[in-house]
């Protein structure tokens, strides 16, 4: 039909255009002399802007409270910056390591691991990373917790030796006198915490960074932490053991000559330390971590850190489809850990079942409501709406009382002699329970659109069909039913999409075979705190729903959906 229309209109418009070219010589002008097209555009634009301004409050509200949080949540399904942020030096060093070579990383990696974990444990971030990596590798959680406690001992090896060498290195004040700039020291010494003024931010003495580059680096981190996070007086604060190990590295490093040439404050002590440092006991970082936990000298933790060091990961999405990242690329999980694919299938299957049973039960109700006199129909409508005014939990719990084996329905059946007392029906804590309870809960969402569409079908059509000789069935099937399809479509979309995301009812009545994917999403949000995986599962669910919606539009046509007359 539409093809024919197009075929006939096309030549017509071509003709019209030709005629137009013959008759007009310039653009059409409006009353004020501007071209009509521009004037019209301007008027339309003004209208559009005022319309936009009118809906702006709502639009902003929806964007801020609905779209932005969802986008933020979905973004977590690929975001993985915690590994790089917590272990910046280690992940950089690990880039040179061959994760499949079967060799452990070298000393440099262990040393940066020490530095990273030291800073992280001061900021209490290492356990967070532990919980993150525990999703991928069992045991990472306690490994990081233990390591956070253990790193202090590593740096203390140097701290003790420097302090034994000269008590000068014990005191934070001395360190500040050596490392801090004169201007900063002057203001810092005048500063009183009680005064309420902000602490003067630490400034490094000129040239220190050239002779003691690593010490300067870690002292800045230390100073920043003390001044900005702990809010303690930096001048009085003794440095972290980490600073001592950096100090040792500097004294035994390539800047030895510059250190010897240094003449600023503390030059004598510095020269003494530089002379003594080469004979200090040094730390074998790999061995130190092996002492904390032998997992550090095995491959899995390093492979996991290497695999998850990029800022973005597809790991959560792989998890969500029962796969995992391995050194050889994505692979299926072992049989006994696959669950999400089963749950996705089950969720879709059961949602279809629930939608079908809603159509089956809702259609006759909608028909009766539409065909009764208004007074009676309104009364019955209240009965349909009644469940909306009852708490979801109450309704679901009521089904428990009804459906359980010692419940009302089974008792009645046993009393009627339909089922034997020792073989009562299992109606709850399985798929049957979920389908029954959810059909009941979602039924109004089917009845309401059906009713409002059926209300618009003139009863005379049915009478006309019958008077033309149709049987009751033919009249219904050929005349009435096609006109009610938009209502079925609208109701089905509502019920299906609502049921796909339901989790309270399946959790209460679903047992082990009647739970949905949303139950796992809820679990990962509130119990396991694996928000990345929850976001990935949610994103997949959203994609499936949008895909089905698209398919529905292609097959049935979304214009064929009506929520009312």
């Amino acid at each position: 039909m539409s093809d024919v229309n197009n075929a006939t209109t096309a030549p017509n418009s071509a003709l019209a255009a030709e005629r137009a070219e013959d008759e007009y010589t310039g653009p059409m002008l409006a009353a004020d002399g501007t071209p009509l097209k521009r004037s019209l555009n301007r008027a339309l634009r003004r209208q559009k802007i005022s319309a936009l301004l009118l809906i702006a409050p709502l639009l902003i509200f929806v964007l801020v409270t609905f779209v932005a949080p969802i986008a933020d949540m979905l973004f977590r399904s690929v975001e993985n910056k915690i590994v790089q942020d917590t272990l910046p030096r280690t992940t950089t060093e690990l880039k040179n390591w061959d994760s499949e070579g079967g060799e452990l990383p070298d000393q440099a990696v262990y040393k940066s691991l020490y530095q990273d974990i030291y800073v992280a444990q001061e900021r209490k971030l290492h356990t967070r990373l532990g919980s993150r990596l525990n999703y991928e590798l069992t045991g990472a959680s306690s490994l990081f917790r233990k390591s956070g406690r253990g790193v202090d001992d590593i740096g203390e090896v140097y701290q003790d030796q420097f302090e034994d060498l000269n008590a000068f290195w014990k005191k934070g004040e001395n360190w500040n006198d050596v490392l801090g700039s004169d201007a900063w020291l002057a203001t810092m010494k005048d500063w009183k915490k009680a005064s309420g003024d902000a602490q003067p931010p630490f400034e490094m003495r000129d040239g220190i960074a050239d002779i003691l580059p690593q010490t300067a680096n870690y002292y800045l981190i230390f100073a920043d932490f003390v001044q900005n996070e702990d809010n303690d007086n930096l001048y009085k604060e003794d440095p972290w053991p980490l600073v001592y190990s950096a100090f040792y590295d500097d004294l035994t490093g390539p800047t030895a000559e510059q250190i010897a040439a240094y003449a600023g404050p503390g030059a004598t002590e510095l020269a003494q330390a530089a002379a003594a440092a080469p004979s200090f006991d040094s730390v074998d970082y790999a061995q130190a971590f092996a002492d904390i936990d032998k997992d550090w000298v095995e491959l899995p933790i390093w492979q996991t850190i290497a695999t998850y060091s990029p800022r973005f990961t597809n790991g959560y999405f792989l998890n969500a489809v029962d796969m995992q990242k391995t050194p050889d690329g994505p692979a299926l999980r072992p049989d006994d850990e696959r669950i999400y694919w089963t749950l996705f299938k089950r969720t879709l299957f059961m949602s279809v079942c629930i939608t079908l049973s809603c159509i089956l039960l809702g259609y006759p109700v909608g028909w009766i409501l539409a065909n009764l006199p208004a007074r009676t129909a309104n009364l019955l409508m209240i009965l349909v709406l009644l469940p909306f005014w009852t708490s979801l939990l109450v309704r679901t719990s009521a089904w428990k009382v009804m459906l359980q084996q010692q419940g009302v329905i089974n008792d009645t059946l046993v009393w009627l002699g339909v089922v034997a007392d020792d073989s009562r029906l299992a109606l709850i804590n399985n798929q049957t329970g979920t389908i029954i309870a959810m059909t009941h809960i979602l039924l109004p969402f089917m009845i309401l659109p059906l009713y409002s569409v059926m209300k618009t079908v003139p009863p005379s059509y049915l009478r006309a069909a019958k008077s033309l000789g149709a049987t009751n069935w033919t009249a219904f099937w050929r005349v009435y039913f096609p006109q009610s399809v938009p209502g079925i479509g609208a109701g089905s979309i509502l019920v299906f999409i609502l049921s796909i995301g339901y989790y309270i009812t399946p959790e209460i009545v679903g047992g082990r075979t009647g739970t949905f994917i949303s139950n796992r999403i809820a679990y990962h949000i509130s119990s396991s705190l694996n928000w990345g995986l929850a976001a990935a599962l949610g994103a997949i669910l959203l994609a499936v729903v949008l895909g089905l919606y698209y398919a529905y539009d292609k097959i049935v046509g979304i214009d064929n959906v009506k929520l009312g007359g």
Binding site: R123, K124, L125, T127, R128, G130, S131, N134, Y135, T138, G139, A140, S141, S142, R145, R149, D152, E156, D230, D232, D336, E337, R338, I339, T342, L343, R346, K400, Q404, Q405, Q406, G407, N429, E507, I508, G511, R512, T513, T515, R520, I525, S526, S527, S528, L529, N530
Partner: protein
């Protein structure tokens, strides 16, 4: 060692700092938002120490938020949003450890923050091993254990945990919690694993398979619960022969509702519940909470709580002060999970093990459940 001393010193400074601040400005917040579990447990807290505290400070108000079940997720979300509205949160120990790990709970020094026992024993000695995390202030010891219908088990009521797995002697449905924790331990124990080896075995894939295989033998006869109220309801309706839940719930089924139910204390699993203080509270709110929590967890208050609910007080010094139930007038001591008669064979929730293995074993458990 050095670390501990610096830590102690620094928290002492923080503590002293807050107190000084509060004194100097005379400024403690007037409102507290307390988070708990609702129900009988929250009521026991309200009667034992919240109302008495409010009685002593007539200008202070306390609001309850019944969000403990989702406390970890909600605190994390509040923290990310930079607006923590809770002042004191009641959580189980495992959650306290996770909140501490995530930096969402404040580390405290028990001796500094909490009251000493009446005989002068320091708080850290009085709570002893129950201080399982630097952020955790224990209140009660509860246990997850079984209750059974006395009228459905014949003449020989179940007396051992393995009776749960014995479908011949005790036919009928059982209820178990829909998570691996506790169930895996019980399954291994009844599969012949010695109690001391349970966690070593459970750490291996073979051990996990073994536990699931044992659970498989009763899989068709299990109703899986996710809310603590499920098992009491199922028992009261005669829907199950026996089921696991928290001992306080069973106490109320047995003693308050007088249902034909009895306790099976064998292999009960002890767990702890207590307070955490969210990290990053403003000074005035922190000062108020510190003041409250010191009062609410002292020896007398914890003993008072056991008049209202059958959970054991977490302080050693409170134990001798456990008296009678406030309404029923029965002795509470024999109903405590820690009573010597009940505690002949017990487990303590293995926090470290489950922190590590929770994600892995849960994946396997749920996959097994869905099959």
């Amino acid at each position: 060692m050095k670390f501990t001393t610096t830590l102690l010193a620094s928290s002492a400074i923080v503590g002293a700092g807050t107190l000084a601040f509060a004194d100097a400005h005379g400024n403690m917040a007037k409102d507290m938002t307390l988070v708990s579990w609702g129900g009988a447990y929250q009521a026991s807290q309200d009667k034992a120490y919240v109302q008495p505290y409010l009685g002593m400070h007539s200008d202070v108000t306390a609001v309850w938020d019944e969000s403990s079940a989702e406390a970890v997720a909600k605190l994390r979300a509040m923290n990310e949003a930079g607006n923590v509205t809770w002042d004191l949160v009641d959580v189980v120990a495992a959650d306290a450890i996770r909140l501490c790990d995530e930096g969402l709970a404040m580390e405290i020094d028990a001796d500094e923050v909490l009251a000493a026992a009446p005989d002068g024993t320091s708080a850290s000695d009085d709570f002893g091993d129950l201080l399982v995390s630097d952020c955790f202030i224990p209140q009660i010891v509860y246990s997850t254990t079984f209750g059974y219908r006395t009228d459905m088990v014949g003449d020989t009521p179940p007396s051992k945990i393995c009776d749960v797995f014995d479908l011949e002697a005790y036919p009928g449905k059982r209820s178990l919690e829909k998570r691996p924790i506790n169930n895996m331990e019980w399954a291994l124990l009844c599969d012949g694993v010695a109690k001391a080896d349970v966690y070593d075995v459970l750490a291996t894939p073979e051990g996990q398979e073994k536990a699931l295989a044992k659970l498989d033998t009763i899989k068709d006869d299990v109703i899986w619960w996710s809310a603590g109220a499920d098992t009491p309801q199922l028992l009261a309706d005669g829907e199950i022969v026996m089921g696991s839940t928290y001992n306080g719930r069973l106490f109320s089924v047995i003693e308050e509702q007088k249902q034909p139910v009895a306790m099976l204390w064998d292999a009960q699993v002890f767990d702890l519940d207590g307070w955490i203080i969210p990290a990053g509270l403003p000074a005035d709110r922190l000062a108020r909470v510190m003041d409250f929590v010191k009062f609410a967890t002292d020896t007398q208050r914890l003993a008072d709580q056991s008049q209202y609910i059958s959970y054991g007080p977490a302080r050693l010094s409170s134990a001798p002060m456990v008296g009678k139930h406030a309404d029923l007038g029965i002795d509470m001591a024999p109903h405590m999970p820690t009573d010597p008669n009940n505690a002949q064979n017990t487990f303590l929730y293995n926090y470290e093990f489950w922190a590590d293995y929770r994600d892995d074993i849960d994946a396997k458990f749920q996959a097994w459940l869905a099959q």
